[in-house]
């Protein structure tokens, strides 16, 4: 998946764990973990919610890069 994210970094900056972030975003801890590992691409609603929680722009958390071999 060519969607990269800095969620883990943002979370570390804010000093919150996956469980707390999941609680704030209204999703499970596993979903946060899946997003961080790039296994799940969140919906636009969830992306906006996460940006709002960290008070940053969406691009600061998520960026789309075409894979070089595609």
């Amino acid at each position: 998946m060519p969607l990269y994210n800095t969620l883990k970094v943002q979370r570390a900056k804010a000093g919150i764990n996956q469980g707390k972030l999941g609680e704030l975003a209204g999703v499970s801890r596993q979903t946060i973990s899946s997003i961080e590992r790039g296994e799940y691409n969140p919906s636009i609603t969830l992306v906006l919610k996460l940006a709002q929680i960290f008070n940053v722009t969406v691009e600061e958390i998520f960026n789309y890069k075409e894979d070089s071999n595609e």
Partner: protein
Amino acid sequence: MNKKTIGKMILLMIIGGIVGGAFTLGLVKLTDRNTISLIGEIGDFFVDNSIAIYIVLAVVLFLPALYHFQKGKAVLISVEEATEEDYDELEKKGSRIFDNVITINSVFMVLNFMLIGMTFTRNKEQATIILALFLINILASSILEITTIKFIQKMDKRLKGDPTSLKFSKDFLGSLDEAEQLKVYKVGYLSFRFSRMMTLALIVLSILFNFVFETGGLSIFLIGIMMISQAVSYNVYAIKNQ
């Protein structure tokens, strides 16, 4: 439809015909070897030993399910004290164990229903004991299922729905987040596709068995109804979700 597709379809039909024909011939040959009596003997074995089979089912399926439930409980409780690195692995392990509990327990329940359906009316002398064992097994199985769901809900407070209610599936699904719902839909679709293939195979098998062993048309009728309900319900949900 192009010529290539039509050709492929005809080829598949011919292969299906040959396989079906060969299978039927094989079955006919088996009937020559008094296989019908063997099938009858297998049926009688279930009737004669139904009490023992109920007990064996409980030992082989229910007790392991109960053991796995306790094991899964211990794993999920240990998750609370785990570090973030171990969290994922432990949680996956816990949910895999609980998936196994639910599956083994469902198999146990279905086999109990199959057994009472096959044996109850044919074993009149032991009917009361058979019924009692059946009820005990079903009650134990239901309690384990409800307890498992309630424990999972206790560990994850977001998950809603009363497992004893008819609205449970709807409420439970509604309480899942987007990633979990997507997983349920994916698994549900794959399972639907598999069950379609299974029912198709079963109806063919029932037809062949009816041709060769004269097993009657009831199984063909019931599997047919199942296939129709699958096709119609899929279409109804597709229209509802347009």
